[in-house]
Amino acid sequence: MSKTKQLGKNVQLSGELAEYIVSNPSAIKKVPAGASFVIFSSKDEELNKLNHKLVASLKSEGKKVVKAVQKENKKQPWTFSLAV
């Protein structure tokens, strides 16, 4: 997958996540301040592979990274975890 395609897919997913957070502000209550989101799709493993590399790259810059993972669950469509 090209980097341009990765950008395009990530912008779509980030839009979905942003809309979810707007409707559910408490969803990110436990997310630490100053962190950065990297999004993971529920279906696109090729994208997820590239995003794992993105996480590693951001962590090497000293950034706190939170993985936002898309789920098939309608009640909780996103889960968040701190990338270790």
């Binding site: 090209s2 980097k3 341009t4 990765q6 950008l7 395009g8 990530n10 912008v11 779509q12 980030s14 839009g15 996540l17 942003a18 809309e19 957070i21 707007v22 502000p25 408490s26 990110i28 997310v31 301040a33 100053g34 962190a35 950065s36 989101f37 990297v38 999004i39 993105l54 790259s57 951001l58 939170v66």
Partner: protein
């Protein structure tokens, strides 16, 4: 029992909106989107402080375009180029006018989803930089 002669009046505490600033969304190593907005005590969006798209060129982050509703309506600013800090204010006719701040925030999110590559291409072109990838 003594009667209370004077009513004690308490000054009501002004309801302060809460600023929501989720983490920046990294789209790639050189691209990120940030959302900052305010909500009231019921969780309703009351202001779009900043919805911005930035790009990293040679280790420096540049704002490409951003939305805010600080003046009471949603509008879009675009940075001229990497060398020119001046912001271009986009014509309001292409931006949502009706609705509430939550609608404006949702609209700005959708606009970036649809037009992200155009903003990126435009900024790189004005900065006379070939595509990064």
């Amino acid at each position: 029992m003594k009667k209370i002669k004077h009513k004690i009046r308490y000054k009501a505490k002004p309801i302060e909106n809460k600023k929501i600033s989720p983490p920046s969304f990294y789209l790639g190593e050189t691209d990120r989107i940030t959302y900052v907005y305010e909500i009231d005590s019921s969780g309703n969006c009351t202001k779009v402080n900043n919805v911005s798209y930035e790009i990293k060129i040679e280790q420096k982050w540049y704002l490409v375009s951003r939305y805010d509703s600080i003046h009471g309506f949603l509008h879009c600013h675009m940075r001229t180029s990497t060398k020119d800090h001046a912001e271009i204010l986009l014509d309001r006719s292409s931006v949502i006018k009706k609705g509430h701040p939550k609608d404006w925030l949702t609209w700005a999110i959708k606009d970036f989803r649809l037009n992200f590559f155009e903003y990126r291409k435009g900024f790189l072109k004005r900065s006379k930089i070939a595509e990064l990838y």
